[in-house]
Symmetry: C3
């Protein structure tokens, strides 16, 4: 595939500085640039543009000394994403229902759908337009899948769930499995039937092998635009707001509710039955054990404001020295006392 | 589905206070109560009963000022679980072996079994009565599945394993994969064949995408009644006692042995080759790096008794202040020394 | 299966001390030894050999007082692994392509291959000689699988990946899913197409439910001989060197590069875009948040050299006492000042 710089700029609504007629044949990162490739640069990476070997670079403002044509856009990363798709059109899966797919009774299937080999779609499910179900996808009874949603191989959506439009479920994701709820009597645990469901709103993404349990009653809910990485666990009745990030291996225990634009970095864990506000960021491995107000950056376990956490960590490094100082002071004070009172 | 309060009380062996003829149509949590719904309340939640809108409430003792009929039982959570099942009978999967299921040689299949689409059951496996295998379940050679066990979509039980009665394996659980055992020679790792198996005793539950490796020799063992959440890892030759809880994302390294009634809260990790007693609880994210006696509550990494951990965490918050105090003391002591000795 | 001690010694190139004609019928660990069984002992375990009940023991040097015949070899663990395989020949899966496997267009399949029930192999894939694909294995478009590789049930290798020779992918492993890369504009996250692939070199092993994402551009890379346990996450563009160990539930964020012979113990997490040298070991639950030079042992979060971490942890335990001492000193110094200056 080949495009001129001009054609690429047009596609991303950018303006060209330099030779718009130059032909670009592939995409590369700036540090691995080549004359036939387009790259992008933002922030401090812009200073590497003058030395880069890329044939063109997408930027957010003119870069002085750039030897190659630039495409200036508002958001270089978004523009580069669009150009990546132009150069790498994804594998297309054939439309229609594969002959080995098993479709239950009273299933509604939209237009332009692709249901792959060995899928199982159970009774009363509703599959929207343009949905792609890759091989071995399981859709439970009464579950509804919104338009333009893509579900990768081996993902499972249990019964009664509601999946929005343009949702992406990656391979082996498990949505709507029964929550971990038990009543304990004389030390013996009896499972409490979890009869609720999971709702994933529009534009949600769930990573490979991530598990979102259904609600005891009501719904476990992930709101519009939230993106969930691989191997994440959401317990029963969790609610996650809009446009959040849950990075790999995060775990959120049952009934916790979280606002919008919250970022949980990798391996963060969150106790159940708490409330988290909007615009909060948790560093990797944070242990969240109480309510968190809106706006803030936290780290550590138990969780502290990030600045305080950094400060305490720094003082911990000095603990051995401080212990020595205290010991020395003890001796000196004892001696002073002796001198004073011994008189 | 509709029941009178009287009918519901009878089903859970409870006694009615108030109007037993009232008709109940659904289940709801107390805070989302509605006149046609039954809820339950225990402990401190009982104080919300007088204001609740529920049509009936299950309790463990009479609540003063309750405007609705109450059902008094010994264990309200267990009773509510029973009532949930009455209102939400689970989806029933058809009995029999689906025509796409592949059954090996010399397989023994009990009565009243449901084997779903695209299951694979290999040679010499034994499937007990009333077992349900959902789609894509894989049962390896010589593996035995006890009566009334339910295995959800895509779960895998490798060869030679022994699964008890009334066991639940959730979607994509992997039981009996080969343990992570290597012999290293000149820095190169050679896999040691892991020829043991996994035994899950009666009433064990294993969550979605949880992995229990087989033993190098002998058996990896989970005893009766233990419940394991999603994304948990048990290494080769681990032994877990009866009625334990392993919450999401817990990892237990090889050959560790643990007693009964132990609770591992989420993301707790445990080193290999150690022994843990009975009735121990580990807070979330605990790092267990040595033997643990029976009876206790632990937290932190490295693990400490919970009280001690709390105390140390509190002192850590005061570290910056303490450092200042020590500095001030140093100066003052120096000055005192000067005054005294300078005389 | 039965072998004489002499036959077993020959197979592992060892020398016999004692009765080489003794017949051995099974393998057992030393502490569960029995007269018909062979065990092995290394390091401090050798002192248990004189009391052991094993019929023969593999060792790395003669053990005084051993009542049973010994087989002396250079590496007892490696030799025992070989003997385990002699006594436990693995279940053999039939050669050929199962009639339910779906094979795309232009797929190249080597000799002596076993492709199990319900596998899906998409267009232009290349499957090497002696490869075993267990049930439900999915091989994406253009992906290449090297000779002698074994892929267990339900594992997925997405399109364009390159899997080396003698690689093992355990059940439900997901290789080459799209990385977690987004461009955020006005708080809304747009997925950046991840058009790279995953390369697993020869002799790599990946555990059950582990997820290795593809690269944004270029390749996510795991080099020769590295062994990855269950439930591990590798982000896009990660590079792991040769002969590393990544124990269960480790997570490595995008674009991090790591050298050879590095050990990540369980639940360790590593931030993105950093570089780790060779021969580094990270204790369980380590939080790696910056570059790490070659050669070293680290622990804690934030990560510290292991010795320093131990020291600080020890001082933390003494914090409450130290706080008391400081308080006492404050009082004493105040009194001394009074005495001195009050004069």
């Amino acid at each position: 595939m080949k495009y001129t710089v001009e054609e690429l700029a047009k596609a991303v609504h950018g303006s060209v500085i330099g030779d718009g007629a130059k032909v670009i044949e592939e995409t590369r990162s700036l540090d691995q640039g080549a004359p036939q490739a387009i790259s992008f640069a933002i922030g401090e990476y812009c200073e590497f543009v003058p030395q880069a070997k890329s044939g063109a670079v997408i930027v957010e403002a003119p870069v002085e000394g750039a030897p190659m044509p630039l495409i200036v856009v508002e958001n270089a990363k978004v523009a580069f994403a669009q150009i990546l798709e132009m150069f790498h059109p994804p594998v297309v899966f054939p439309k229609g229902i594969h002959e080995t797919a098993i479709i239950g009774k009273n299933v509604t299937i939209g237009e332009n759908v692709s249901i792959g080999p060995y899928c199982v779609v159970y009774d009363n499910a509703i599959i929207g337009d343009n949905v792609v179900l890759h091989p071995y996808v399981y859709i439970g009874h009464n579950t509804r899948i919104g338009d333009d949603t893509v579900i990768y191989a081996g993902a499972i959506v249990h019964e009664n769930c509601v999946i929005g439009k343009r949702v992406v479920l990656r391979a082996k994701a498990v949505i709507g499995g029964e929550g971990f709820g038990f009543a304990t009597e004389n030390g013996v645990h009896t499972h409490i039937p979890q009869v609720g469901n999971v709702i994933l709103e529009d534009d949600v993404e769930v990573g490979a092998c991530s598990c979102i349990d259904n609600a005891t009653m009501g719904s476990t809910l992930v709101r519009r635009g939230t993106k969930i990485d691989n191997l994440v666990h959401l317990g029963h009745n969790v609610e996650i707001g809009e446009d959040c990030f849950l990075i790999a291996q995060v775990g959120i225990a049952g009934s916790t509710k979280c606002g919008n634009h919250v970022i949980f970095a990798g391996q963060t864990g969150c106790t159940g039955h708490i409330t988290i506000g909007d615009n909060v960021t948790f560093a990797g491995k944070t242990g969240i054990i109480g309510n968190v107000p809106s706006d803030g950056l936290y780290a550590g376990y138990p969780m502290r404001p990030h600045k305080e956490w950094l400060k305490i960590e720094a003082y911990q490094s000095r603990l051995p020295d401080m212990a020595k100082t205290v010991k020395k002071l003890e001796k000196e004070v004892a001696r002073l006392k002796e001198q004073l009172e011994g008189k």
